[in-house]
Amino acid sequence: MSIIVFSTVVDYILGLQIEKQAHRKKLFLKISIFTNLCLLGVFKYFNFFIDSWVDLWSIFGYEMSVSTLNIILPVGISFYTFQTMSYTIDVYRGDIKATKDFLAFATFVSFFPQLVAGPIERASNLIPQLTSKRVWNHQKFKDAILQIAVGFFRKVVVADSIGAFIDHVYNAPDIYNSPTIFVAVILYSFQVYFDFSGYSDIAIGTARILGFDFKRNFNLPYFSSSISEFWRRWHLSLSRWLRDYLYIPMGGNRRGDLIQYRNILVTLLLAGLWHGSSWNFVIWGGIHGLLLCFEKRTGLIPKNFKLGNCIVIFLILSLSRIFFRSLDIGDSFVIIQKLVNWQGTVVDIRNISIFATVLYGLLITFIIDTFLFVSKIDLEELGSKIKDFGYVALVCFLTINIVLFFSSSNTFIYFQF
């Protein structure tokens, strides 16, 4: 709690100072970025850096005895530090005016629907909404209720049921055969998508009922025909943040191919590290960076949707997530080894009831997502596009399905970040 208060107070003051003292604004911006990165460095990455440092020396035969800190990762730190940093950067660039309203700024940093797992909102979008009068809007209410219902279905029916099925495989991959591991790898892609997009839908919908418009966070990412397209559809608030505050300031694609590849790699490595203090996430980010560079280099980016590409991209994404989900790098290689040296023919389903729920949930979400993709309607606007009877029937259907199929698991994958 004290960390978020500290971050709020510091960036509120620095935002005002950046605007007030134009000749020293660079200094204030540096202080803001330094402070936020220090918070992240200490509370999220300190033990990771220490452990990595010790491991590095042990390779050369030096055994160091360095104690790590016994720190519990503050919930949502990765999200609100990025929000406050984007605020001071935007004020520095003159994109927005520094707010004098401390309450509005504090609400922007700690607004409850998106505090723990995003979306990472921009000050330019949220602060004006916090300071202006809100008017009840029936269309938005209708949209929000449906989005929340879809979000709950995605999260508590699909993602949590998949979690109940695959957790045992990822906890001990060495004891399972290749088909079981392959199914777990594929299903994890769905779990992480429906877990996070479901949470985002609930957060965006809740904020909408209260009269606030958040930017959308997912745009049907598994309908991507290339990795570049995937990053334009996946966790949009993070990928746009990285694009606007890291990739473009480093030069983006304006300084030739080599610099662009470097920028892509650095951005994606940091995107990986943002997810967690583990080399697994760095490797995952690195793989995506290399894939993006490869796509740019070879021009393998189709302009229109291609089903074949879509399937290949999904498989590549699923395989790259082995590093994202595994408990450590050792386990990741065990899984890869099992997939390469294919053994066994039967998938170890364990609980047929959970597996049936997973398949049923995936079928319903597939129908919803395919409809959205084909009709080119955003989930955020779906409610107001459906006539009243159909709308009530759809919300009823989703609610009864949630009640009948929800899983009792209460973990959120992105809460840990």
Partner: protein, 314 residues
């Protein structure tokens, strides 16, 4: 605003009505299902519970370890995967027949597990609409879930719908005669267990029970309810810890035995029944194979038949 209020009322009313409709439909299907753990077994149990002489209750370790054929003809094994003492208590609260033998499988770790809240009983919530005793049991012990179930009745069928539908369509008419579910490990299951054993260290063979030992109040309450109901019906109540490759230390064993003794309950600790580590007897750390279960059931039935309950309790 007016439109939104009308929409909200329409949604709540529709959800309420659809829920009622769906519940009636699922309930009608469910009442015709007598197979499968989630609903079928409880239906069969309800149909025979007040006619059999011996009931075996507990978790999967009851379902897979006690073969009623070794006990007597009129015996039913109502062990269910993932269910513990709360579930057993809910079942016992529905009993009517006097002078039954009630065998309850219980593990040491459950007695001292402070995190146990008894949520396993909630899978019987759908039966609380039909059984007054069960309804009272849930009202007293699970107020929140009880209230939700009165508004959203389908909530009581959470996780059961697909299984029920499948069984309803594909029910082959066979009824569970004994409720016993022997385990015949497949080749791949044996291989997996072998691999687990190879990479296991000594800690994997022991329950990690928090010290100092303190009995979970909720578990104790449930045991008290079972004891009171058995006394009311004049039934013979036996608590048993069945064989397991996972052990507990001596202090836990002594305190468990002491707990039941102080309550005036008969308790058998068979956790170390098998002295030799013959893997043919096991499916995994805590479940016996059919071979192991047969040997164990044979021995337990002999011992139980020789018990003079009245002499022991008095």
């Amino acid at each position: 605003m007016r439109q939104s209020i009308i929409l909200t009322i329409s949604l709540i009313t529709s959800i309420f009505l659809v829920d009622r409709g769906a519940f009636v439909l699922i309930n009608k299907m469910e009442n015709r299902v007598y197979q499968g753990d989630s609903v079928g077994k409880i239906n069969y149990f309800n149909s025979i519970k007040d006619s059999v002489n011996t009931l075996i209750l507990g978790s999967s370790r009851a379902a897979h370890h006690f073969d009623p054929d070794f006990f007597e003809k009129s015996c039913f094994n109502m062990g269910v995967d993932g269910k513990k003492i709360a579930y057993v208590t809910a079942l016992v609260s529905t009993l009517k027949k006097a002078n039954q033998n009630i065998i309850v499988q219980i593990d040491h770790d459950l007695l001292f597990d402070s995190s146990y809240k008894g949520e396993d009983a909630l899978s019987l919530l759908h039966k609380s609409f039909e059984n007054k005793n069960l309804s009272i049991f849930f009202k007293e012990n699970y107020q929140k879930q009880f209230l939700i179930s009165r508004f959203l009745k389908c909530y009581t069928y959470n996780g059961k719908f697909l299984g029920t539908s499948y069984r309803f369509v594909f029910d082959d008419g066979k009824r569970r005669s004994t409720g016993y579910e022997p385990l015949f490990p497949t080749k791949s299951q044996k291989e997996i267990f072998q691999k687990i054993l190879v990479r296991s260290d000594s800690s994997d063979f022991y329950y990690n029970i928090k010290k100092p030992l303190s009995v979970n109040k909720k578990t104790e309450e449930f045991i008290d309810i079972i004891q009171a109901k058995s006394k009311e019906l004049g039934s013979n109540l036996i608590f048993v810890t069945s064989p397991s490759l996972k052990k507990v230390d001596e202090e836990t064993k002594v305190q468990t035995a002491q707990f039941f003794k102080e309550k005036g309950l008969f308790y058998l600790d068979d956790s170390e029944f098998f002295k030799e580590e013959n893997l043919e007897y096991w499916k995994d750390f805590t479940h016996l194979s059919e071979k192991g279960a047969s040997l164990y059931s044979k021995s337990l039935s002999r011992r139980i038949n020789n018990i003079n309950f009245h002499a022991l309790i008095n």
